[in-house]
Symmetry: C2
Subunit: 204 residues, 2 copies
């Protein structure tokens, strides 16, 4: 598909760098923007640039935040001795949506992945260790490892638990098992195997 | 889904105005941009803004163009007596992709649609009439109406043909019929009905 203009082509190319956006979708976005007022396009660009210029990472948990310390970390309604370690910002949102967790978070910003060139020092592990060690801003009683159940997630969890062990903090991880609403026949065998080995008391 | 930051929320809101983009997809785009360098986000925004500031509409056919007159209109390899009237830029690209048409275009920038508040004067009909009347930049022998086969497209085609009739120019439209590769049983009855009434000589 040849485009009638270099300027349009460049816009399509740039929009095509968004995740999951192919050339056809990028063209649809570009032609949509073309129909908008200049002011509207400018507003969108301003909002996108502010992501890089104005958005903070919370000094304490490294979640995205408008302030230096995020609302969760500065709230006195959370259990401040609980720290849930997650890979990224979306995971915080997913856990917050459950409304089941009232502790704090620590956002690693990735997991250890040698193939992608992500090492121990590329993610927020050192700051987690400091946070537990110094009990700053508050003493940590329990670290919950809520990392992806992939090889990279497991590696990261293993590394962190090895580093935390000497500090005498309680380390837990998310319960594994059959998903609520799942039929047994469709559960994968590793999950099903773990859930029978790690069976729990029946609650009436 | 509550977002941890107003700045992130605004970016998600803006990205959500793109066609077919919901909140979840917009968030995915925003978090992707968050991971990019500031320079890359700036490059994208520059490319998008240039759509509004630097992109021209061809003075002659109203297609998007980097120059005041587009390459198609200024080419001496096209049949300059043929003008194909289309709704939008995508239609030009679709017809160019067929490599079957060597004439010029006229991009209306929409079709008459009272419900959407698009009237005769909101699209490039007057400039088409002038183009045919004045034979400028070249005499027009045939106008091909390649408009969508919707009520709005039909209305627009009907209006244009009524205006063109007195000028004595030949007016044609795209052939209607069963699509190549279609089974008869799946063709809609209006199309199938038209294609039997308007049957054409069999070519061996």
């Amino acid at each position: 598909m040849e485009l009638p203009s270099k300027i349009l082509e460049q816009a399509v190319e740039q929009l095509g760098t968004l995740p999951g956006v192919g050339k056809r979708t990028a063209l649809r976005y570009a032609l949509h923007l073309l129909r908008q007022d200049e002011l509207e396009v400018r507003d969108m660009c301003d909002a996108l640039l502010r992501l890089k210029t104005d958005l903070h990472r919370c000094r304490c948990c490294h979640n995205v935040s408008d302030t230096e310390v995020c609302p969760l970390c500065s709230s006195d309604k959370r259990q401040r001795g609980l720290v849930c370690v997650v890979e990224n910002v979306q995971d915080v949102m997913a856990l917050e949506n459950t409304q089941q967790y009232r502790g704090l978070y620590h956002v690693l910003g990735g997991v250890i992945s040698p193939i992608d060139g992500v090492g121990v020092n590329d993610i927020e592990i050192a700051s987690l260790l400091r946070r537990v060690e110094q009990g700053n801003p508050c003493p940590v009683e329990e670290v919950i490892l809520a990392l992806p159940t992939t090889m990279e997630g497991d590696t990261t969890g293993f590394y962190i638990s090895r580093q935390l062990r000497p500090l005498g903090v309680k380390i837990t991880t998310l319960a594994r098992g059959v998903a609520i609403g799942d039929n047994l026949e469709f559960a994968d065998e590793v999950t099903l195997g773990r859930s029978i080995v790690g069976r729990i008391p029946f609650e009436e």
